[in-house]
């Protein structure tokens, strides 16, 4: 199989069994790789009522066909599983150099089940794998873990993906970290890793996959590099990182503030420009990326010489959402999240919710053990540490907004989450396509799967007739958002960076050159649709219905200020339009048999509709 290693590594941490399984070619052609292929691999293990922390719940690391090639902006890989945080489909992607190392270790994916008796790490090097003792790493933060392994494996070029104390402590939204501070951030897959007593996955090797047409790939890579370099968005990200959007986001009412109740705030204090002015900031680029949108803050503190990030989402979550405009504390909170491995979005939203509840008197000083006031930067940093250590009120905040509302007896419509996953830093009232994307996203509220704001601001998909329109319009927006979601899901199967400005046609050309397939852009788009539908089928099996495809009131009721003042998306209209295009059954929320047959998913149809 060209473009693939052709095998999946199966590891049972309980029995110690390790074996390579051939990659099914039909699965690769239908689901590509990354999260799509992982969903296909996991589907058979999904049972209604399953415990996500049970040893039998698989954790899957996967690369894609582009990983390891010279195509720019493809050093991405995914981690997937049934989320211990939300209880439904969970996925997260990451960049850096680990993805490149994962593919070149000799496998397209690593499928891990079981629970080790004591802490271990998985070592994979050129088609061989072994489970190694990791007791000496348990309790260490992600930076120390990477440092110790670097020392122990001196002389071998290797790449580490690991958890921090949060994952060990089973904090529900613990994440997985690689390349110092790159995060597979969402859905609590770090807790799933911790539940298996798996501290790290270390990959090494030079097993490059064979490619169909190296000359064509070389030509395309050159062209793509020029397109990317000559794109002013690349320039913008290179110069100021993703945080450059904070002020523009505020003017568009896209960057939420004060726990989704405001959209106007002093944005200039927490933009990429402010970061660059106040700190020594360097760029970070993933393997083979000509942009380098990542930020590294140098010389932050004597004890913390380097901080990876912050990125836009983190600046919003610990910044405007908490009415905190102190950059120092945002950087510090970001660093602690990286070092101990928690999702900055879920952490920031949970802390902002605590502030909201404290102001309303629902969360009292007695219950919290401290006042939790808007903009209190010291409290934010303290709460992040308490979440990681599951201490005091941190135990509750670590369970996220849905559980907080339930345990504190507050209005569930004020818990800013969809299907248990916190709403990220793009406001659904600013782009109605975003609202329906959040409501229907396979992992819950997700700005990656349906970053509709980026489409409305210029990232159109002409092959699918997805074009920018009135951002406040409801009519037809459900269909547009569904198409865009399918397109963006492809990026997580191909394992491509979503910042890539390449068109569907250009991506298809590259895939054909890598694999020798003869896909049309619409063939490839169908793979994105297939990925969305198998994840939906997984969620249906876990109890998700149409009633779960909704936004909480706090995130959609009209604001009184800013560019979206007085506006609110019509969720009923959007959802009907979305369902109609997706061919999902209105009564059950399942993909219809017709749709599944259309996508060649006959076995899923038979299973889902039995």
């Amino acid at each position: 199989m060209l473009g693939y290693q052709g095998k999946i590594l199966h590891v049972d941490l309980g029995s110690g069994e390790i074996k390579a399984i051939p990659l099914n070619e039909d699965d690769a052609k239908k689901y590509i790789g990354g999260t799509g292929l992982s969903a296909r691999l996991i589907y058979g293990s999904v049972k209604p009522g399953m415990d996500p922390l049970a040893p039998s719940n698989p954790l899957v690391f996967a690369a894609g066909p582009f990983t390891g090639t010279s195509i720019p902006m493809v050093s991405r890989s995914s981690v997937s599983g049934i989320s211990p945080y939300t209880g439904i489909w969970g996925e997260a992607t990451t960049g850096g150099t680990f993805p490149f190392g994962l593919k070149n270790s000799g496998y397209d994916a690593v499928y891990i089940v079981g629970k080790a008796k004591k802490p271990v790490y998985l070592f994979i090097n050129d088609n061989k794998a072994e489970i190694r003792e990791a007791s000496h790493l348990w309790g260490k933060d992600t930076y120390a873990t990477q440092g110790i392994l670097k020392e122990e494996l001196k002389g071998l070029r290797h790449y580490v993906s690991c958890i921090g104390r949060a994952g060990e402590n089973l904090v529900p939204y613990a994440c997985i970290i690689n390349d110092k501070g790159r995060a597979a951030g969402r859905c609590g897959l770090g807790a799933l890793m911790g539940s298996k007593k798996l501290k790290a996955v270390v990959v090494a090797g030079k097993s490059e996959a064979s490619l169909a047409d190296k000359d064509r790939i070389s030509v395309l890579a050159g062209q793509f590099r020029e397109i990317i370099t000559n794109n002013f968005m690349s320039l913008a990200f290179r110069e100021y990182g993703t945080m450059l959007y904070v002020d523009m986001g505020m003017y568009l009412a896209d960057t939420p503030a004060k726990y989704f109740t405001k959209s106007v705030f002093p944005a200039e204090k927490i933009t990429g420009q402010a970061l660059k002015q106040a700190y020594s900031v360097k760029n970070y680029a993933c393997h083979g990326c000509p942009i380098g949108c990542g930020r590294v803050v140098k010389g932050f503190k004597k004890s913390i010489p380097e901080v990876d990030g912050p990125e836009y989402e983190t600046a919003g979550a610990f910044g405007s959402l908490c009415m905190n405009f102190d950059l120092d504390s945002i950087i510090m909170a970001n660093h602690i999240c990286n070092a101990q491995g928690i999702d900055t979005i879920s952490a920031g939203v949970s802390i902002a919710y605590a502030m909201h509840l404290f102001e309303k008197g629902i969360l009292t000083e007695k219950k919290a053990g401290m006042p939790i006031k808007w903009g209190d930067s010291k409290t934010i940093v303290k709460l992040v540490e308490m979440i990681i250590n599951r201490k005091g009120i941190g135990e509750l905040l670590g369970k996220g907004t849905r559980a907080m509302a339930k345990e504190l007896g507050s209005d569930p419509e004020e818990a800013a989450q969809v299907k248990g996953l916190e709403i990220p830093m793009h406001d659904a009232r600013a782009f109605y396509g975003e609202a329906i994307s959040y409501a229907t996203g396979p992992r819950g509220a997700c700005h990656q799967k349906g970053d509709y704001y980026s489409m409305e601001l210029g990232g159109m998909v002409l092959e699918l007739n997805v074009i920018a329109g009135d951002r406040f319009m409801n009519e037809g927006k459900g269909e547009m958002a569904a198409k865009f979601q399918g397109f963006k899901d492809l990026f997580d199967s191909l394992c491509m960076c979503k910042m890539s400005p390449l068109s569907l046609t250009q991506i298809t050309d590259a895939l054909n050159a890598v694999t020798g397939w003869n896909y049309s852009p619409l063939d490839l788009y169908a793979c994105g649709e297939r990925s969305l539908n198998i994840k939906r089928a997984i969620n249906n099996k876990l109890g998700v219905t149409r009633q779960d495809d909704r936004m909480p009131r706090i995130a959609v009721e009209a604001l009184k200020e800013g560019a979206s003042a007085g506006r609110s998306p019509d969720m009923d209209m959007l959802l009907k339009d979305y369902y109609s295009f997706m061919k999902w059954d209105w009564g059950t929320g399942k993909p219809t048999k017709e749709k599944l047959f259309e996508l060649g998913m006959h076995d899923v149809a038979a299973d889902l509709w039995k």
Binding site: F232, A236, L252, Q273
Partner: protein, 94 residues
């Protein structure tokens, strides 16, 4: 004629060295033409100095709103006193 404010956001403001300026115009089309005439060449020059060569006018690589309404959604050419024409670089966050 209406007096409006043109506001350059983010990178545009940085590259042009101007955050906002007043403009008198009889209509939206004229206002946009004057923004292009006054700032288009300079913006493209600034971008080229940074290795990015762009063709076309500012509208092509910007997201422009009149107050909070996108250009594509505006029904007519009329302006009123105090309107703000926001010119954003067409970039998005993470």
């Amino acid at each position: 004629m209406a007096l409006l404010k043109v506001q350059f956001h983010g990178l545009w403001g940085l590259y042009l060295g101007v955050d906002q300026f007043p403009l008198e115009s009889s209509g939206l089309d004229e206002a946009l033409a004057r923004v292009e005439e006054q700032f288009g060449p300079l913006l493209r020059q600034r971008l080229q100095e940074r290795g990015v060569k762009l063709d076309g006018d500012i509208k092509k690589y910007s997201y422009i709103t009149l107050n909070s309404t996108g250009l594509q959604q505006l029904q007519d050419n009329r302006l009123k006193y105090g309107d703000v024409l926001h010119v954003f670089p067409a970039v998005t966050g993470g």
